[in-house]
């Protein structure tokens, strides 16, 4: 592979020494050449024109929403994104006062997270839009399978913990929506979330399972201390944010361990 020669020759040593994240960006770049989200075409020459299109589309949609008074200047950006998405997907309610659907909540969470990551509104909107549509289209079939996979890997890693949760009948009540629908948006800080989402965008939604498993393993002692399913769920929905980076790193290790190492990161 031609790209491999261009890559940092120290990458191997980085990993040996334990700097895990150093090469992630590079590998991501390599990955992103294919534009997994489809926002920009791979052809550079058309980037400008396409970006212009995107921008125009964004302004058009925004303008339309403003015209029909769904959004105003005071509307929060996240809601704007939601309305725009709704409009584009044709699911715009008749009135902005209509209650939000569950998928809208998911969108909002993701948008909130994404908003933190990206500065430009247009970029942000497009990223959110494409990310959500990828979740809805590409992972439509695999997402419902994730809870099962989660149970399986947790059993492999720590059967005692799983048994404990089964005893508490907390397994079914775990925050699967938060984990697998919202992709940990709002659960993990954005800096850590980025790394997870990178994997998701690259096409592996299984990473979500490992993050979930790792969260449980990390907070095993606390989880074991809790006997109530509700309490467990509550705790898991509000896990402390300080150890998220470690969790993600460990989750990636776990992912590598169970699903093998992806070729590009070798």
């Amino acid at each position: 592979m031609a790209e491999d020669t261009q890559r940092n020759f120290r990458s191997v040593y980085y990993e040996k020494v334990g700097f895990r994240g150093v090469e992630e960006k590079k590998s991501l770049e390599i990955l992103l050449k294919d534009d997994p989200l489809g926002i920009l075409p791979p052809h550079h020459e058309s980037h400008a024109q396409v970006m212009m299109c995107r921008k125009e589309q964004y302004t058009d949609v925004l303008h339309a929403l403003k015209v029909i008074r769904f959004v105003s200047d005071s509307t929060p950006q996240v809601d704007v994104y939601l309305r725009m998405y709704q409009l584009e997907s044709g699911t715009l309610p008749r009135s902005p006062s209509f209650p939000l659907e569950p998928e809208d909540e998911v969108f909002l969470a993701i948008a909130k997270a994404m908003e933190e990551m990206v500065e430009d509104n247009v970029d942000c909107y497009w990223l959110i839009r494409c990310f959500v549509s990828q979740l809805n289209n590409k992972f439509r079939d695999s997402l419902p399978q994730l809870p099962k996979a989660f149970e399986q890997y947790l059993n492999l890693e720590d059967s005692r913990l799983l048994n404990h949760m089964k005893m508490c009948s907390a397994v079914t009540k775990l925050p699967y929506d938060l984990w697998f629908q919202k992709c940990f948006a709002g659960c993990l800080p954005e800096s850590s979330l980025q790394r997870v989402w990178d994997k998701v965008i690259s096409g592996s939604c299984k990473i979500l399972v490992f993050v979930a498993v790792e969260i449980l393993l990390t907070f095993k002692i606390k989880v074991m201390a809790l006997n109530n399913a509700e309490k467990i769920t509550k705790f898991l929905e509000n896990i402390p944010q300080d150890s998220s980076d470690a969790i993600v790193s460990k989750a990636i290790d776990l992912w590598h361990k169970h699903c093998g190492t992806p070729v590009h990161s070798v």
């Binding site: 489809g38 075409p41 058309s46 024109q49 589309q57 339309a64 409009l87 584009e88 044709g90 715009l92």
Partner: protein, 1158 residues
């Protein structure tokens, strides 16, 4: 108290004369003692004894058993402390100790010993001192290990008493001092024998003091002359001799003998193995005194020694021979006529292999005696052991004596002495000497007989006989103890002799008296000895030996002496004898029987040889001794014992003399009868003297017992030794037999060897023969082998030859065949050549013919030759020109070919370039396609968005309309509701329609609409317009129908709305199909596209045709789109609809632009 009374009663009964009662009471006491462990009875007994000196009580006390010993010791200790009872208690102690009770080892720990020592150190009574010293001396060998603690006490006592002897601080009678001196002498011996190192060091320290020097000179030094250097002084040390280990393995009698060994005093000395040489030396040295006193015996010895050549006699002879003795010797020799032969037979010198038997002393001049003595002394040293191979038991003589009663005894005894260094002889000497001293002037020959005669005058024959017997036995025992060689001078019995002087006197007379008989008698034994030496067989007939046993001696002693004494002798004598404890019990029996014990003969059997020797010697010696005359000589130092001895003898003689003066019956009754009442002092002295003598006697007896014990042991050794000798002899015999066997075997072996050698030689010859045969045969074989080899080679040669011949044959055959072939060929050739010859002939003929023809033609040719040359030249020129022309043509052709080839190459490269370009362009096209697709997608999504926006707007508008109509215009209520419904329906439709199928839908719809609408919207607008109308919406066709009426009704507004809708929807299609660049490639691509679409058009027909048309038109539309944008102002809708209006305008422009070029 009753018991006390009872005991005293019993005690009184003890002295009853009735034997039965005595026994009963004794048993009663013993039972009491057994049952009662208290001291009371013992104390009572001791008291009683001290009171009465009862023999019975003494017996009981001396046989006390273990638990009572302590009481006895305590009691004795108590009485020793009291001066009054000291003497009797000491004598009691002496009695007890002499019996060697089983608890004797306790003596050393008992408090009695220190108190005894204290008494000895402090007491001033000579009698007590003497008694105590004797007791101590008796005790010492029993408790040798206790010497450690009391050693210095012993030495102090010795020092005190020795000085006492000299200074006599108590001023006692001289006579006591003699006794004391004797006992001190004994103590000296004992101490020196037991603890030489310590004792010598004591002597050294004690007598280095000036005040003691005199004592040393007077008392101790003479004593020291009688002892040898103790070996312990060399090998031992002070500590070693006190070491208990040293004493552990020695019994009491061993100790006694040990002490006796170092003594040079003939009365004390005793020698055993390993001392012979030194003994001899000492003997020589010591001989003089004895000889001096006992010259007759010396003579006899000499004579005997000469005859027998015993080592002992010879030295003595050499030393002591005096001229006066010669006649006696001669006489003795004459008497013992048989002796010489006998002597020669068994002489040790002969045994030793000495060439020169010792010359008789008689022949030797006195001057020469010394050298001789030396010679013999040395030779004797060797000879003695040989001469007396084993310890010969002296007893036989005794038994002999005993059996034969006195006469033989007397005779037999001396030889014993001679031979075995017995004590008998000294005793005799002494007696004789004493008699001499007494001034009984008699010839030496008769002296013995004279004295003897004197004595028996007082005593009953029987008594004397008995006494002598007893005496003999004692002597025998002693001699036995001194078993081995020992010096000839050993005279251990001296003190006893002193004691027993009465008996000696008795015995000697007896013996002397019967000397006449004895001479004859002794000859019998002596004769018999002769054969004995040669062979043992003759022992049997000899009666004398069989009687003796060492064991029966005591009984003998016991039996005889008291019997005589009691009845017939003075009270003094009785006193002397009574103390002996053994006497009472055995007296009667022994006396009555007077026989040797039944086992006597066993000794004879056991020790035949030695016994016989012993007996024979003794007899001989005695015979000589009897004849011996006394000879007074200078005594360098007399042993205290001898002094005492002499004193006693003198006393006894005096006594007897005195007694002789009295009538026999009155003698025992009263002293006063012959000397008036004797002075009490005298009596006291005498009593004490008697007591002392008694003590001495008892001490000597004890010593004798020890010797007896030792004797028994030695005897056992002798028996063993002889048995071993016998065994050895037997073994030797066996050995001889075996050697014989071996010899026989050797001889037979030699024979066998010879045979074997012979056989081997035979075999060898056969073998060599066979070998030679084999060799010959082998040789033959080899020859044959060689021959066969030769033959084989020959055969091979022949074969080769045959093969060669065959080959040659083949070759020959071949040659023959070849020749035949050649022959046939040759024949063929021959035939051919024949035919050729024929042809040649024919040809020759032809040749001839042709030659003729040729000649003919030549003639013709010469005629025609001139005309042809011009023609030929012209033709040549024409040909040349033609050739050149062709050549130039060829050149031309070549050039053309080159150019064409170049051209081809050029074209080919061009083609390749073009191909490459084409490939590049294809790539680029792909690239562009991708780019376009991306843009297209973007635009599509934008279009989608626009559509959604439009829908939203529509919805909003309709909503607003709904509201408006509701609020404001009541008359249009119905219409409005319809419109609202329609709008709602449309919205529903939109919602239902999938985005995926939208395009297809549109196309279908477009198709339908196109068909349906073309007539309606007019042909002028062209296909694009119709297309636009078709693309307006999927539902538009449906809508159109219901919409028409309102449209018509509403008028231009509604129609416009419709059109806008239609146009707006059509926009994306047109836009999407537009490639934006105007490059050559793009144009080309578009052409390609066009061709494609055209071909499609052909197939699809109208609808598609219109699509291609739109594509075409769009090529030219692009630049104009923006320019026509302001036209959108015509749009009746307000500003929000700008975008759509642009799309509308564009379509309109398009239409216009289409018109413009067209």
């Amino acid at each position: 108290m009753a018991q006390q009374a009872n005991i005293s009663e019993l005690l009184s009964m003890l002295d009853s004369s009735a034997l039965g009662v005595l026994d009963d009471i004794t048993t009663v006491f013993k039972e009491n003692l057994n049952s009662d462990r208290g001291p009371m009875l013992v104390n009572t007994l001791v008291d009683y004894y001290l009171e009465t000196s009862s023999q019975q009580v003494l017996r009981i006390l001396t046989t006390l058993q273990e638990p009572h010993d302590k009481h006895l010791m305590d009691k004795i200790n108590e009485y020793v402390g009291k001066a009054a009872t000291r003497l009797p208690v000491l004598s009691l102690l002496g009695h007890v100790i002499r019996l060697q009770p089983p608890w004797k080892h306790k003596l050393s720990q008992a408090p009695l010993l220190p108190s005894l020592l204290k008494c000895l150190k402090t007491d001033t009574d000579v009698v007590i001192l003497t008694t105590g010293v004797l007791v101590l001396i008796t005790m010492l060998p029993m408790i040798p290990q206790s010497g450690k603690q009391y050693l210095h006490d012993f030495f102090d006592i010795f020092g005190r008493l020795s000085s006492w002897c000299l200074k006599n601080p108590g001023h006692v009678t001289e006579i006591y001092l003699v006794h004391l001196h004797a006992s001190v002498y004994a103590l000296f011996h004992r101490l020196y024998g037991m603890y030489p190192c310590n004792f010598v060091s004591f002597l050294r320290s004690h007598y280095s003091m000036k005040e003691n020097l005199e004592t040393f000179e007077e008392v101790v030094k003479p004593m020291m002359e009688h002892v040898r250097i103790h070996p312990e002084l060399v090998t031992g040390s002070k500590d070693h001799e006190l070491d208990p280990c040293r004493w552990k393995r020695l019994e009491t009698h061993d100790v006694v003998i040990e002490c006796a060994k170092i003594s040079l005093d003939p009365t004390e000395a005793s020698y055993e193995d390993g001392y012979s040489v030194s003994q001899q030396i000492s003997a020589r040295f010591h001989h003089r005194p004895t000889d001096a006193t006992i010259s007759p015996h010396v003579d006899t010895q000499n004579s005997y020694g000469n005859a027998t050549s015993t080592p002992y006699s010879t030295p003595r002879l050499a030393l002591l021979n005096t001229p006066g003795q010669l006649p006696q010797v001669l006489s003795s020799t004459t008497r013992l006529s048989t002796e010489p032969s006998q002597a020669t037979i068994w002489s040790p010198s002969s045994v030793c292999g000495m060439t020169t038997p010792p010359t008789s002393p008689g022949n030797v001049p006195p001057e020469l005696s010394h050298p001789y003595s030396k010679v013999f002394g040395t030779s004797g040293g060797k000879g003695t052991p040989l001469g007396t191979p084993a310890t010969s038991p002296p007893p036989p003589c005794h038994s002999d004596d005993y059996v034969h009663i006195s006469p033989p005894q007397a005779i037999v005894m001396p030889p014993k002495k001679e031979d075995r260094l017995d004590s008998v002889r000294p005793c005799l000497h002494r007696q004789q000497h004493l008699s001499n001293d007494r001034g009984l002037e008699e010839t030496s020959d008769n002296k013995g007989s004279v004295t003897l005669r004197d004595l028996p005058g007082f005593l009953v024959d029987l008594d004397s006989e008995e006494d002598s017997v007893e005496k003999d036995k004692e002597e025998a025992a002693i001699s036995k103890e001194l078993s081995e060689i020992t010096t000839s001078d050993a005279e251990p019995v001296v003190p006893r002799g002193g004691f027993d002087s009465p008996f000696y006197r008795d015995s000697l007379p007896c013996s002397q008296r019967k000397s006449h008989l004895t001479s004859s008698n002794t000859q019998g034994p002596s004769v018999s000895t002769e054969p004995l030496t040669s062979s043992l067989d003759k022992l049997g007939p000899d009666t004398p030996k069989q009687a003796f046993t060492p064991i029966d001696r005591p009984c003998g002693c016991a039996s005889e002496s008291p019997a005589g004494n009691r009845e017939n002798q003075t009270s003094l004598e009785t006193n002397i004898f009574t103390p002996s404890p053994k006497i009472p019990s055995q007296r009667k029996v022994g006396f009555g029987s007077g026989q040797s014990p039944p086992y006597d003969h066993l000794f004879e059997m056991a020790l035949p040889k030695t016994a016989y020797h012993f007996v024979s010697k003794k007899t001989e010696e005695l015979l000589k001794k009897v004849k011996g005359n006394t000879e007074e000589d200078y005594m360098p130092s007399t042993s205290p014992m001898e002094v005492l001895d002499r004193l006693i003898q003198q006393g006894a003689d005096a006594h007897t003399k005195e007694l002789n003066k009295l009538s026999l019956p009155s003698k025992s009754v009263d002293w006063t009868h012959f000397g008036g009442s004797p002075p009490s002092d005298e009596i006291h002295t005498l009593r004490n003297q008697l007591l002392l003598l008694h003590n001495q006697l008892l001490y000597e007896r004890f010593k004798r017992q020890q010797h007896a014990l030792r004797n028994r042991r030695l005897l056992r050794k002798v028996i063993k030794a002889t048995a071993l000798e016998e065994h050895n002899a037997a073994m030797k015999d066996q050995l001889k037999l075996q050697e014989k066997d071996i010899q026989m075997w050797k001889v037979s072996m030699q024979k066998e060897q010879a045979r074997y050698n012979q056989l081997q030689e035979e075999r060898d010859t056969v073998v060599t023969q066979l070998h030679s045969q084999i060799r010959q045969l082998q040789h033959d074989r080899e020859e044959f082998y060689n021959q066969s080899q030769e033959l084989q080679t020959k055969l091979e040669d022949c074969r080769n030859m045959i093969a060669d011949l065959r080959l040659e044959l083949k070759k020959a055959n071949n040659k023959v065949c070849h020749r035949e072939l050649l022959l046939s060929q040759v024949s063929q050739k021959l035939s051919n050549s024949e035919s050729v010859q024929q042809q040649m002939e024919f040809l020759n003929r032809q040749l001839l013919v042709l030659g003729e023809v040729n000649e003919l033609y030549l003639e013709q040719l010469q005629n025609k030759h001139a005309d042809t040359t011009q023609e030929v030249e012209m033709m040549k020129a024409s040909y040349r020109k033609e050739l050149e022309k062709n050549r130039s043509h060829l050149l031309q052709q070549n050039q053309r070919l080159d150019t064409s080839q170049k051209r081809i190459l050029e074209l080919e490269s061009h083609l390749a370039k073009k191909d490459h370009l084409l490939l590049e362009q294809k790539k680029y096209l792909e690239d562009v396609k991708l780019q376009a697709r991306g843009q297209l997608q973007a635009v599509e999504s934008r279009y989608e968005a626009q559509k959604r926006i439009a829908q939203a707007f529509e919805l909003k508008i309709l909503d607003l309309y709904g509201r408006l109509e509701k609020d404001g215009l009541l008359k249009k209520l119905e219409e409005k509701t319809e419109a609202a419904e329609a709008a709602e329906e449309r919205l529903d439709c939109c919602n239902e329609g999938c985005p995926d199928s939208l395009v297809g839908h549109n196309e279908e719809a477009a198709g339908r609409n196109g068909e349906t609408k073309t007539p309606k919207s007019g042909s002028s607008r062209g296909s694009s317009g119709s297309r636009g109308g078709g693309g307006s919406s999927s539902s538009s066709s449906e809508l159109s129908t219901p919409e028409k009426p309102p449209n018509q009704r509403v008028g231009p507004f509604s129609s416009r709305w419709e059109t806008t809708l239609e146009t707006s929807t059509s926009i994306p299609v047109t836009v999407g199909s537009l490639p934006s660049s105007k490059s050559f490639l793009a144009i080309k691509a578009r052409e390609l596209f066009r061709n494609k679409s055209e071909s499609q058009c052909d197939e699809d027909g109208l609808t598609n045709n219109s699509l291609s048309e739109t594509l075409k038109t769009e090529l030219y539309k692009d630049p104009s789109t923006e320019a026509k944008a302001p036209l959108g102002l015509d749009n009746p809708h307000p500003s929000p609809k700008n975008q759509e209006s642009v799309g509308q305008l564009r379509i309109m422009d398009y239409n216009e632009t289409q018109h413009e070029p067209s």
